[in-house]
């Protein structure tokens, strides 16, 4: 698809979602259902990365949509609808992680490990260990950048922080993750030299 076609499609989608949010602000249940249909999978996958629990994820996604229902009247249209909705998702995740209502769960269990190659497990497991060790705000920033693919301005809007704060969080996260990967590489290097 041409870039111009993609841009047109994106702007049409944004228009449609803005209209849905306006209707949700007027307490139109059908509009909320449409919005839920459009965002359910994306929200589920985003939250599931943090919880690794279907039950907890379902609960958080419902809370996010209820917050959309209650707060749609506050949407002023100065950001994309998706940015606004993921801002709510971010705050819900941050709140629960801070309160320890959610814990960031280990990613791999034995059964999953058995289904994957050793090399892939080593690499991804070390990355995941690094992610799990990050402070909550840095962890969420990494997810917003790499999982959702947001620009730095969009991350700033979602997290309600200045762009410089976002860059600083990613700077610290990057440094810690790089250290983690270097630690992961050490046994392999020493093994190679033997």
């Amino acid at each position: 698809m041409l870039k111009s076609q993609q841009t047109l499609q994106d702007s049409n989608q944004q228009l449609a979602e803005r209209e849905l949010l306006e209707r949700v602000a007027d307490h139109d249940r059908e509009a909320l259902t449409h919005l839920y249909e459009q965002y359910h999978e994306r929200l589920f996958r985003f939250v599931f990365r943090l919880t690794r629990s279907h039950a907890q994820t379902e609960e958080v996604v419902n809370d996010i949509m209820l917050a959309v229902w209650r707060g749609a009247g506050n949407y002023r249209g100065d950001s994309k609808p998706s940015t606004w909705i993921f801002g709510i998702a971010y705050r819900q995740a941050l709140k629960r992680l801070s309160r320890k209502q959610l814990s960031i769960a280990p990613r791999m269990d034995v059964e999953q490990i058995a289904d994957n190659s050793v090399h892939t497990i080593d690499q991804e497991d070390w990355v995941q260990r690094g992610l799990d060790a990050l402070p909550t705000t840095q962890r969420l920033a990494v997810e917003l950048v790499f999982y959702l693919g947001l620009t730095y301005e969009e991350v700033a809007a979602v997290t309600e922080c200045p762009v410089n704060t976002v860059k600083t969080r990613m700077f610290h996260a990057r440094r810690k993750l790089k250290e983690q990967l270097e630690i992961a590489a050490e046994p392999a290097s020493s093994g190679d030299s033997e």
Binding site: L66, Y147, G149
Partner: protein, 214 residues
């Protein structure tokens, strides 16, 4: 925000690397990073590490099996009062409210006995009479995220409306007074939620309620 390319430096470009890797930089910044990478081994190493992180995140397997939507559950929840959305029956919420009020007053009394508070002499009423008082204040202990700067901390305290009665407890933890405020459990929960949602605050908890008496 676009960097003037003539002022691009290693320090400013290295901060853009996550967005270079996720492919969302504006064209001029993208070009500046690419040119910088040619001569900077450190940044090339960072790009490699970030690419592996991005790859690992996108290849996180197995992908979750997304369950079917349950829109009807969501719509049912819209009809419930907000406290029911928390999953508690009414009687439990009332019991919890009473317990919290009593506990707060008890904590406050204990704190008063441990510290001298000449600046704001207060007396106490019972939790029941407090419910009618619109001018109580809450003492909230706030812990900031470790990377928060002093300026960021000050800005956060202003944002949450804690402009007075701020004391440093130790480490990243401060005790602030929120006033005036209605004596309502729902209000208190909402305020704590708002404070905890602040990106630079890692936790917040009420440690005391002050009930001034004329």
């Amino acid at each position: 925000m676009t960097l003037p390319l003539s002022e691009s430096t290693h320090d400013s470009l290295i901060e853009l690397l996550p967005w270079y890797v996720n492919g969302t930089l504006p064209a001029d910044e993208q070009r500046a990073v690419e040119e910088h990478l040619v001569g900077c081994a450190e940044c090339r190493g960072d790009v490699d590490a970030l690419s592996r992180v991005s790859h690992a995140i996108h290849n996180d397997s197995p992908a979750p099996l997304v369950p079917p939507m349950r829109a009807e559950n969501l719509l049912d929840a819209l009809d419930e009062p907000e406290h029911k959305l928390l999953g508690f029956p009414n009687w439990l919420m009332y019991a919890a409210a009473a317990s919290v009020a009593i506990a707060l007053v008890t904590i406050w009394v204990n704190l008063q006995s441990e510290t001298t508070s000449a600046e704001s002499p207060v007396m106490f009423e019972t939790a029941t009479s407090a419910a009618a008082d619109e001018s109580i204040s809450y003492v909230v202990e706030i812990t900031f995220a470790a990377e928060t700067t002093a300026d960021g901390r000050d800005a956060s305290l202003t944002t949450i409306g804690a402009v007075g009665g701020i004391s440093h407890v130790g480490g990243e933890t401060y005790r602030v007074t929120l006033t005036p405020a209605p004596a309502s459990l729902a209000y208190l929960e909402q305020r704590i939620d708002e404070i905890e949602a602040h990106p630079q605050i890692s936790s917040a908890r009420v440690v005391a309620v002050q009930l001034p008496v004329d």
